[in-house]
């Protein structure tokens, strides 16, 4: 599978690490994805890559759960307008800081922007939006 993907990869116009990461992510090759996203973030200046990094470090995909890294990465992504990252950031805040109010605020904004993760997380942590 890896081999197959590497073959296919060059056919993508803007064959980028970010894409690569997304492909790996879709195929649940989280480690490969993580690597790709890291490259994307550093070399390609891809802001959305930080979302995935945050996601991975939050969920412990492809790496050990690391709430600090997750927080760091998700904040970067969020500052660049990634709404999803906001929702995940809310969860991080809950998990790391247990600050439900802040989290609530974030989740409300996130819901507005259409990120359903915020609803999921709200549901998960039984927060009313």
């Amino acid at each position: 599978m890896k081999f197959f993907i590497i073959l296919i990869l060059p056919f993508f116009a803007y064959a980028s690490f970010f894409r690569e990461g997304i492909v790996h992510y879709k195929q649940k090759n989280f480690e490969a994805a993580l690597q790709a996203f890291q490259k994307a973030a550093s070399q390609e200046n891809s802001k959305n890559a930080y979302y995935f990094l945050g996601l991975f470090y939050l969920k412990g995909l492809g790496a050990q759960q690391d709430l600090d890294k997750a927080e760091k990465y998700l904040q970067i992504a969020s500052s660049f307008g990634n709404e999803r990252a906001n929702c995940l950031l809310a969860e991080v805040i809950i998990l790391k800081y247990k600050d439900f109010d802040k989290a609530k605020k974030i989740l409300i904004n996130g819901k507005k922007s259409g990120a359903y993760e915020c609803q999921q997380i709200a549901k998960k942590y039984k927060i009313k939006l």
């Binding site: 116009a13 959305n48 500052s79 660049f80 307008g81 990634n82 990120a115």
Partner: protein
């Protein structure tokens, strides 16, 4: 509609058409041109607006990133872009300021643009919803009005190409805008990284369609189409467009889960590149649109100029046409009015009635009427002309024919009045008869003048061509007026060129008539004490003809310039007062000028009022070589003194000088009497003028025995004759050449009694020829005449009665010369000549000279007869001179010397009492000098009637005569008066030969006695002795003339 109307229409319609077409074209091209100008301006505006749109779109896009990243990203770039946008807006504003028209329309979008700063603030504070900022503000509020403004270019559909280009241009602008929107919108979504809602999907789909609409453009302008396609089909462009499609697909796949594999920045940049491509296309379209518009503008400008010119031209032409038409109509109207006048004239009205009203040059019927009128007028005019010509011709013919009818009774009146005068009348009767005579002479003169004129008009005048002696003829003519001139104390001077010694051929009668007319006028119109001078000069020779100049000038009243032209017209005198004061019919000059004209000259006039007049003309007359030698320098060696009073110059002073110098005489003028008397030894005699010198001074000359010849006017003759014994000679004015000649002759002959240097010349009259002549003539009288004349020259003469006889005689006879009449029965002279010439040729006979005798003496005759083979020609009546010349020419070898010859006829020569030292048979015999004859001829015929008839004859020959009513009267008259010739009829009662003999012997003077005898009788020997000539009693004018000429010269 009349003709005028139709003409107007025809001429105006094309002009009007031209005018309207050009007006339309002018208007149209103007409008379109203006439109092109507007389009160009709009394109310019669009450039600015388009730039604003592009920058605003960029700002919008960046704002979306900015907002999406919650103010974290591209803050600085946004600020920069905002500046760029501001600058672009400023440029737009600047342009609008200089284009007020656009400024008015810009109110909407400019006011929107003014909201930018506020919105930007809101954006900066992140206090605004993305959609609100992105769509509501930037897209709808700002860019949409701007795009609408750009779209206005579509309204200028001035050509399909322009429309197509404009539409495509707008298409591209729209695509650009919507690509921009897509760019910003999806960037935002990609940054948000959440799935798209259905609404958002819908929006995007709409955006995609509009953003890509540029790819399907339809453009009819192929050149532009190709350019755009080239841009779009370029490698990198294609790549970019493909990338965009592919990226879209990628994003679309992830719309549900929001896991977009595309980086927003990447997307933004990609879309920006696509927009750049669209921009390129937009520029191409804008440029080509500009080009097209320019082309159309150029074309429209040309059309505008041309149509403007045509427009002006059509106006100009219509103005010119208007004036031309007006001119033509004026002329037509004038023609119409002239024709109307003609139509109103009596002649037309008579013929055609009131046709004038139908005359109208505007209609066809009217023009036909005009033709009718003209035709009628012409016809009438022709008829009138014909009628007038016929009338004139009839009148002339009548007058010409009546000439004879009128003159005959008048001649009767004149003739018998004169006869009456010569009868015994008492004083009262004499007075009455004189008055009758004068009146009838006047009447005759007038009628002659009128008839002459009518003869001239009906071309019945013939110019004669006979030989005459100019000096003699003209001197005689002028001499007639000596008394009249002397009466008014007018100095009459005559200069005839002595070089005109040789005879001339022409019409002396007419020339004399002209001279007489001119001299008579001159004397008439010159006051007392004036002068009249006649000059006749030989100017030179041309081809055997002498050019003779005639001039009559006076110091009279003159003719004013205005009247000069009229003066030659019949019946005109300078003015009516002239007729009153001076009399005359006014016909003289007309006739004179006509005569001169017929003779080949032209009567000219120079005149000054108060100073005098000069009439002159030049004639070319044939010169006849003569046998008489010239008298030039004949009297060289003689000196003559002449007194000239310088205070009273006279013309004849110069003339006398020329006469004397021609004769070789030394002319010595003196201006002082005392000097003249003192110089007496230096000259032979002197000529004095009685006008200049008084008797006491004359006596001084007589005292010193200086020979004096005195010039005097004839009015002083009584006075002058008182001392005629002391004078050498008296000469009466006018002093002419002949008188001068005679003076010299007299001096040499009588006075000097010495032989001057002279040469003996042949005496023609005494020359004889020993030859035989043949005279061919049908008229018996003429036969006798010619025979007599020839026999006088010593020839033996044979006669023939017609050409045939003449020819026969010539064949058989042996003649030296033939005289051939032309008009003869049986065979005429010309035919006979031909026969003789043929005979001479055929038989090798020696040619006998043939001389033509003809009664007519017209020009061209000589050439004609010579052409027929004759050797010479002479005219009847024959002149001895001419015969002599011809005999000398052809019979020079037959001349016999001056010896008396016995003739078998009854004639015998009288012993010559005088010696002829000086030849010239027209001269008066020497012995006659100083002797006065009472009359030329004394006539004593048997009956008074015969005598009278005879006298008529002699009168017509211009000899003065008396009639002896009986033999006793004859004796009486001979005793008391002096005659040159006495004609005695043997049959007269009491005829006594002895008494005649007595008379003759006792008489001192030379009188010739001529006896007339019955043709059947013969004279006695004694009679032959006594009488100078015996003539058969045949009354023939020519014979008579010959006889008289033989013994007498014409009266001086």
């Amino acid at each position: 509609m009349g003709i005028k109307g139709r003409l107007r229409l025809i001429s105006l319609i094309p002009i009007i058409l031209l005018f309207f077409i050009s007006s339309y074209l002018l208007y149209n091209s103007y409008i379109v041109y203006n439109q092109t100008e507007e389009i160009k301006k709009r394109l310019e505006l669009n450039t600015y607006i388009s730039d604003v749109i592009t920058q605003v779109a960029k700002e919008r896009g960046m704002t979306s990133i900015y907002l999406g990243s919650k103010g974290k990203l591209i803050k600085e770039s946004l600020q920069q872009q905002r500046e760029i946008v501001n600058k672009s807006i400023n440029r737009l504003n600047k342009y609008l300021k200089s284009h007020p028209k656009f400024q008015k329309e810009s109110k909407t979008y400019i006011s929107s643009l003014k909201l930018l700063p506020e919105m930007r603030k809101k954006i900066d504070s992140l206090n605004i919803d993305f959609k609100k900022a992105f769509f509501d503000f930037y897209t709808y509020t700002i860019n949409a009005p701007l795009i609408n403004e750009i779209k206005k270019i579509e309204y200028f559909a001035i050509s399909p190409e322009i429309s197509s280009l404009a539409t495509t241009y707008i298409q591209f602008v729209n695509s650009k805008e919507f690509s921009g929107i897509e760019r910003g919108f999806i960037s935002y979504v990609l940054a948000r990284y959440t799935p798209m809602s259905d609404e958002e999907m819908k929006i995007w789909n709409q955006l995609i369609g509009k953003a890509d609409s540029f790819a399907n453009f339809s453009l009819i302008v192929n050149s532009t189409k190709e350019k755009i396609e080239k841009v779009l089909k370029k490698e990198d462009a294609k790549e970019i467009l493909d990338d965009v499609s592919q990226t879209r697909v990628d994003i679309q796949r992830a719309v549900n889960d929001g896991i977009y594999p595309v980086d927003p920045t990447l997307w933004f940049n990609l879309q920006t590149e696509k927009i750049d491509i669209i921009l390129k296309g937009e520029k191409i379209l804008k440029d080509d649109l500009h080009l097209n518009v320019d082309n159309i503008a150029k074309t429209q400008l040309y059309t505008l100029i041309v149509s403007a010119l045509v427009w002006f031209f059509s106006i100009l032409v219509s103005i010119i046409g208007f004036f031309l038409a007006r001119g033509i109509y004026k002329n037509i109207n004038r023609l119409e009015s002239v024709l109307k006048k003609v139509a109103e004239s009596e002649t037309i009205v008579q013929e055609k009635g009131e046709i004038e009203s139908k005359l109208d040059l505007n209609t066809t019927e009217g023009i036909n009427t005009a033709y009718e009128i003209l035709e009628t007028a012409l016809k009438k005019a022709e008829n009138a002309k014909q009628y007038a010509e016929e009338a004139s011709k009839a009148k002339s013919m009548f007058l010409a024919n009546m000439s004879h009818e009128i003159r005959t009774p008048l001649n009767g009146i004149v003739g018998f009045t004169e006869l009456l005068k010569n009868t015994d009348l008492n004083e009262e009767q004499k007075e009455f008869v004189n008055i009758i005579e004068k009146s009838s002479e006047n009447l005759l003169e007038i009628i002659n003048a009128i008839l002459d004129l009518s003869k001239i008009e009906s071309n019945k005048i013939e110019i004669e061509n006979i030989v005459f002696d100019p000096i003699n003829e003209f001197e005689n003519a002028i001499e007639v007026y000596a008394p009249k001139a002397a009466e008014k104390d007018i100095n009459l001077a005559l200069f005839i060129d002595p070089n005109l010694e040789k005879p001339l051929k022409g019409d002396p009668t007419k020339i004399k008539e002209v001279l007489i007319n001119l001299v008579s006028n001159a004397i008439k119109f010159t006051d007392v004490g004036g002068s009249v001078s006649v000059e006749i000069k030989k100017l030179g020779n041309i081809e055997g003809k002498a050019k003779v100049y005639f001039e009559v000038r006076d110091t009279g009243i003159g003719i004013p310039a205005e009247k000069k032209a009229q003066i030659f017209e019949a019946f005109s005198q300078a003015d009516i007062s002239v007729t009153r004061k001076y009399g005359g019919t006014g016909l003289g000059l007309t006739i004179s000028s006509e005569f001169v004209r017929l003779m080949g000259g032209q009567l000219n006039l120079e005149s000054e009022v108060g100073k005098g007049s000069k009439f002159f003309f030049v004639l070319e007359l044939e010169e006849i070589p003569t046998l008489t030698e010239s008298l030039k320098d004949k009297y060289s060696g003689i000196k003559v003194a002449y007194y000239i009073n310088e205070s009273e110059p006279k013309d004849h002073n110069q003339y006398i000088k020329e006469y004397l110098e021609f004769l070789g005489v030394s002319f010595i003028p003196h201006t002082s009497i005392t000097d003249l008397i003192a110089d007496y030894s230096s000259y032979d005699f002197t000529i004095l003028d009685y006008d200049y010198i008084q008797e006491n001074n004359l006596k001084k000359f007589f005292a010193r025995n200086i020979p004096v010849s005195l010039i005097s006017k004839i009015s002083h003759n009584k006075k002058v004759e008182n001392f005629s014994d002391s004078l050498m000679r008296i000469i009466y004015e006018p002093v002419n050449y002949t008188k001068t000649k005679q003076l010299m002759q007299y001096y040499i002959g009588e006075y000097k009694k010495q032989k001057a240097k002279e040469t003996k010349t042949l005496d023609i009259s005494k020359i004889k020829f020993n030859a035989k002549a043949l005279v061919v003539e049908d008229n018996a009288i003429n036969q006798k005449l010619i025979k007599k004349t020839l026999e006088d020259f010593g020839l033996e003469v044979d006669l023939a009665n017609n050409g045939l006889e003449g020819f026969e005689k010539r064949k058989n006879g042996d003649y030296d010369i033939i005289f051939m009449d032309i008009q003869m029965p049986i065979m005429d002279g010309i035919e006979a000549t031909h026969e003789i010439l043929d005979f001479e040729e055929d038989y090798g006979q020696q040619h006998i000279p043939i001389i033509a005798l003809t009664a007519h003496a017209l020009k061209g005759d000589r050439e004609k007869y010579l052409g027929e083979g004759m050797d010479e020609y002479i005219t009847k009546p024959i002149i001895r001179d001419e015969i002599a010349a011809i005999l000398k020419k052809f019979l020079s070898d037959k001349i016999v010397t001056k010896e008396e010859k016995e003739y078998k006829k009854k004639r015998e020569q009288k012993p010559q009492k005088e010696t002829f030292i000086l030849p010239d048979e027209l001269e008066v015999e020497k012995k006659d000098i100083g002797v006065d004859y009472d009359k030329d001829i004394l006539i004593a015929k048997k009956t008074l009637l015969e005598s009278k008839l005879f006298k008529q004859l002699t009168d017509s020959l211009e000899y003065s005569s008396d009639i002896a009513s009986s033999f006793d009267d004859l004796i009486d008259k001979i005793s008391t008066k002096k005659y040159k010739i006495v004609f005695i009829d043997k049959e007269i009662d009491n005829y006594d030969l002895e008494k005649i003999k007595e008379l003759k012997n006792s008489a001192k003077q030379e009188t010739k006695y001529i006896l007339f005898i019955d043709p059947n009788n013969e004279p006695t020997n004694e009679e032959i002795d006594i009488f100078d000539e015996i003539v058969k009693n045949v009354i023939n004018k020519d014979l008579l003339r010959l006889i008289i000429e033989k013994f007498v010269s014409k009266g001086v």
